[in-house]
């Protein structure tokens, strides 16, 4: 970045625009409630699969040691549907498992509407105003190994770089925000609606895109895990770079 560019950028550092602050908090609040209700929903059946079908009688891709249902659901012996042993079978579930999905599902889908509104406004305004291109998308020369390594080293010894809130952002910050805003958030929304039987009936391309309902559910979970990791790092970085000033910048913009 040239001298003039740096000066121009610096003249508007330390500020988040009003629409960025509004959508940031709407999305942040929604994601927290979605995470809370989502983990509750996952606890009803903490097993992940790939493909279209997956249940207690089929092998899981991954079992998550979470909640009272982990390895605790009891079934009667299996009966094959059509005589052939090893083929599709059924079994009676002998007791009702732990399940809080009544409120958790409704909270999840109510919050998902707020999340969708926030995300659509954020992406639309970000693209129209050039915020996405100017402040977030890495420039080609920023992606060079030397620059990346330089930024990694800068983060490994105190004080933390980029202590001024708001753009311009260094390369690691840009990559993190781009991954969250342009990959993870849209992906978690799309994999979420793929699980909806009514939406999948209207847009079967979603099923093909993710390789089935259970694949979409598994991707949904790992995207959540990525976002949870991002949130932890995000909060640590705010604590290390002046939390009062950072919060002030994201709330009142100054």
């Amino acid at each position: 970045m040239g001298q003039a560019g740096q000066f121009e950028q610096a003249s508007r550092t330390g500020r988040h625009r009003l629409w960025v602050r509004l959508t940031h908090w709407l999305i942040a609040l929604s994601v927290l409630l979605l995470g809370y209700s989502g983990v509750t929903i996952l606890m009803a059946h903490p097993r992940l699969y790939w493909g279209y079908a997956g249940n207690d009688l089929t092998p899981p891709l991954l079992e998550i040691p979470l909640g009272p249902n982990h390895h605790a659901i009891h079934f009667s012996p299996r009966t094959p549907f059509v005589g052939t042993p090893g083929g599709p079978a059924t079994a009676n579930r002998l007791a009702e498992p732990w399940n809080q999905n009544g409120w958790a599902r409704s909270l999840h889908f109510l919050t998902a509407w707020a999340f969708l509104v926030g995300l659509l406004f954020y992406l639309a305004i970000g693209l129209i105003t050039g915020h996405a291109r100017r402040d977030l998308l890495p420039r080609r020369k920023e992606l060079g190994r030397a620059n990346l390594w330089h930024d990694v080293k800068a983060h490994l010894r105190p004080p933390m770089p980029a202590t001024t809130p708001g753009p311009p952002y260094a390369i690691l910050q840009k990559l993190a925000y781009c991954l969250v805003a342009f990959v993870a958030l849209p992906l978690i929304f799309l994999t979420g609606i793929t699980m909806s039987p009514a939406i999948a009936a209207n847009y079967p391309i979603l099923l093909d895109l993710f390789g089935g309902t259970q694949s979409a559910r598994t991707i949904h979970f790992f995207t959540f895990a990525f976002l949870a990791t991002f949130l932890a790092v995000h909060l640590v970085m705010i604590l290390l770079t002046g939390p009062v000033r950072q919060l002030r910048a994201m709330i009142i913009g100054g």
Binding site: Y52, N55, L57, R78, T90, E96, L110, P197, I199, A201
Partner: protein, 253 residues
């Protein structure tokens, strides 16, 4: 009947709220599930109305090849005659035990309400009607899925045989256990909504709802209610327990 009166007085109490919510959410209050002032139920109605507005009423769910049929657990009630069942109903359970002993020869599906020809249908009557076989995916609210082949009569054919009236707005399903469900006409008349008596080429197993269950493929699994005994066509919405019990009535998501 006392249930109905309780329901009606409850309606009176929440009338103002419900109609305000109904107006807000595009639609007449009396045709909307009640929210009882609960914000989660308002969210359910928002999703219901937006999905009904944004999605095609006739879109079909994906159907699979027989080779993709998977294992499928029998959850919830797996035998309505068992008194230790979580949703056991003493009267229904006793009736069910007797009917099962007779191989469901004496079982009848009653249809009443907003129809010109209320009556009852034996299993053989239903098997003589229009037949549809579909290999579809069951999506449980808990998160698991299963693919199975279902054979039955389209609900639409049964409703038309009973002379469904234009005033019909909801179709209720009553069972041999405590469970009951209802559908709006969009899902009730959908071509993939069937009353299934066969599963994977055999008679419907007890655990999966013998002798007859509902398959409503564009909603979550618990709407596909098992062990049917009575269908009531209604011109208004009645809460059959889901909503008061804290569960969403509409589950297209």
């Amino acid at each position: 009947m006392s249930n109905d009166r309780l329901f009606l007085s409850r309606r009176g109490l929440i009338g103002g709220l419900a109609s305000a919510g109904g107006l807000l959410l595009s639609g007449c209050g009396e045709q909307q599930p009640p929210t009882y002032g609960n914000i989660l139920r308002m969210g359910d109605n928002l999703t219901y109305n937006l999905q009904r507005t944004l999605l095609s009423p006739t879109a079909l769910v994906r159907e699979f090849d027989r080779s993709q049929i998977s294992s499928m657990p029998a959850t919830g009630t797996y035998d309505p005659a068992r008194p230790d069942g979580a949703f056991y109903d003493p009267d229904g359970g006793r009736d069910y035990a007797i009917l099962r002993k007779g191989g469901f020869e004496d079982w009848r599906l009653r249809i009443e309400g907003d129809v010109d020809r209320p009556g009852s249908y034996a299993l053989a009557d239903l098997k003589r009607m229009q037949r549809r076989t579909q290999v579809t995916r069951h999506m449980c609210e808990e998160g698991w899925t299963a693919i199975a082949e279902w054979t039955g009569v389209p609900l639409r054919a049964v409703l038309e045989a009973a002379g469904i009236r234009p005033s019909a707005r909801f179709v209720e399903f009553h069972t041999f256990d405590q469970a009951a469900e209802s559908l709006d006409m969009v899902d009730a008349l959908h071509p993939q909504t069937i009353l299934a008596y066969g599963m994977n080429g055999r008679d419907l197993p007890i655990g999966h709802g013998a002798p007859l269950r509902l398959r409503v493929e564009r909603q979550i699994g618990y709407k596909s209610i098992k062990f049917l005994r009575r269908i009531v066509v209604m011109d208004m919405f009645r809460d059959l327990g889901d909503i008061r019990g804290g569960w969403a009535w509409y589950n297209g998501i």
